[in-house]
């Protein structure tokens, strides 16, 4: 244990680790008494705290890259329609306003009713240090309620309505939390996806990650790819995805599409090693240190110290899929 001299040269009884420990304890105590932050477990420096009762806080539709004339045709087709995020009071046909976990509003990402369509909101920062970086959120996922139809509306994929399970649960595809980071000439994405169901409505409910880097507009510019409108932009080939664990991640969809229960998500990464560290979903914690993060093979200009996080939601059927974010905290240890 190191000691340090005090102002008149004598060794102090207060050690540096003790000071750090005291500071951490004080920080924890202050945070735990903060009614809005006590539900979070941030790293020492909170970079952003997004309470959607007070606006969208910079979460914006992910946009594609366009040419010097702003031509729509110059934009990757699968990057043209990620949908504007909505400040939602969770207004439903059966109960009226559901509201947020805290206050009235949450941020809502909504897909179209088109199989494969993805809605994506991104938060754009840069990094002023290297080390641990974490995003936390309280979130919920739902499917647009269906009104009317025949007996077929009571079945979808694995689920037939039984007043406990509801077919809409099988109509939710996936949501994803991910980064877009670049420093010292190397760009990479940390990606975690909750795959709820497959294209046929069979329940999956497992965490997944891609083994390849996301296709970029620069690659399309060079003629290396040209994906269609409903492509999975994060990693288009299903063969490039792996399960984090074969264990099913059970959750609280809560029976019908208009009951909302908030779930805690925490995704920890390390920018000093460009690696994943840990994923927490409610009380389940996944060790991600062996989950590789595929970097790009070439240097990208204009992106030094890029620090982006995005959330996306993808439907695999003709149903609007929604991801609601009550609030989001991004923190770092630098």
């Amino acid at each position: 244990m190191r000691t340090r001299p005090d102002h008149d040269g004598k060794e102090s009884q207060v050690t540096t680790p003790d000071v750090a420990s005291t500071a951490a304890s004080l920080r924890d105590a202050i945070r735990s008494s903060d009614l809005r932050l006590s539900k979070y477990n941030p790293l020492p420096r909170i970079l952003t705290f997004d309470d959607f009762n007070y606006g969208a806080h910079g979460w914006v539709e992910l946009g594609g890259n366009y040419n010097g004339r702003g031509d729509l045709d110059s934009m990757d087709e699968h990057f043209r329609d990620f949908r504007p995020p909505q400040l939602s009071n969770q207004n439903f046909f059966d109960v009226g306003t559901h509201g947020g976990m805290t206050g009235t509003y949450s941020l809502k990402l909504a897909t179209r009713k088109a199989p494969g369509h993805t809605a994506t909101a991104i938060r754009r920062l840069t990094m002023s240090g290297r080390g641990l970086l974490q995003i936390e959120a309280y979130l919920a996922w739902k499917v647009e309620a269906n009104l009317g139809g025949g007996e077929e509306a009571n079945r979808y994929g694995d689920i037939t309505w039984d007043a406990n399970s509801h077919p809409s649960e099988a109509q939710f595809g996936a949501f994803t939390v991910a980064t877009d980071l670049s420093h010292d000439g190397i760009r990479y994405h940390n990606v975690m996806r909750f795959q709820n169901s497959d294209w046929d409505g069979h329940i999956v409910q497992k965490w997944m990650y891609p083994t390849v880097a996301e296709p970029t507009p620069h690659e399309r510019f060079r003629g290396e790819h040209d994906y269609g409108r409903y492509t999975d932009f994060t990693a288009p080939n299903p063969d490039d995805w792996r399960f984090v664990s074969d264990r099913r991640q059970e959750a609280c969809y809560n029976e019908v599409p208009t009951k909302v229960n908030w779930h805690y998500l925490r995704f920890l990464i390390d920018t000093s090693t460009r690696s994943n560290v840990e994923l927490q979903f409610n009380n389940d914690v996944y060790d991600l240190r062996d989950v590789a993060v595929p970097p790009y093979g070439e240097k990208y200009e204009s992106l030094e110290s890029l620090l982006n996080f995005y959330f996306s939601v993808r439907t695999l059927g003709p149903h609007r899929n929604f991801l609601f974010l009550d609030s989001v905290v991004i923190s770092a240890d630098w």
Binding site: R83, N91, A145
Partner: protein
């Protein structure tokens, strides 16, 4: 300072007959304005716009205070909206003409 949001509801959609924007939640906003830009005009056509509201984002009705607006499918137009409740969408319908215009549609919201 008042909260505000501009949402690009369509970035370049071909109007093939009738088009309705995706449901958009507006409970927090006190005023709204649509902008429609004919990225590819269709001179000689008539396109009608109706502002629609909803109690649940599923069932829709024309806003009682805004008469349908008919345009000549060129240029940029706007429609101010007040007292719209919790959901908004814009319905576009080509009433005449053979060439399909391409639209960019913005929704501006402010507390």
């Amino acid at each position: 300072m008042r909260q505000s949001q501009s949402a690009v509801m369509e970035r370049g959609v071909d109007l093939e007959g009738v088009h309705e924007t995706e449901p958009f939640e507006t409970a927090w906003a006190g005023e709204a304005r649509w902008y429609v830009h004919f990225l590819r005009p269709a001179p000689g056509s008539e396109v009608e716009f109706r502002v629609q509201i909803s109690p649940d984002g599923i069932n829709w009705v024309d806003h009682e205070g805004i008469a349908p607006l008919t345009s000549e499918a060129v240029g940029l137009l706007s429609i101010p909206v007040a007292r719209f409740g919790h959901w908004l969408r814009l319905r576009s319908e080509q009433r005449s003409g053979t060439e399909a215009p391409m639209l960019r549609i913005y929704l501006e919201l402010k507390e």
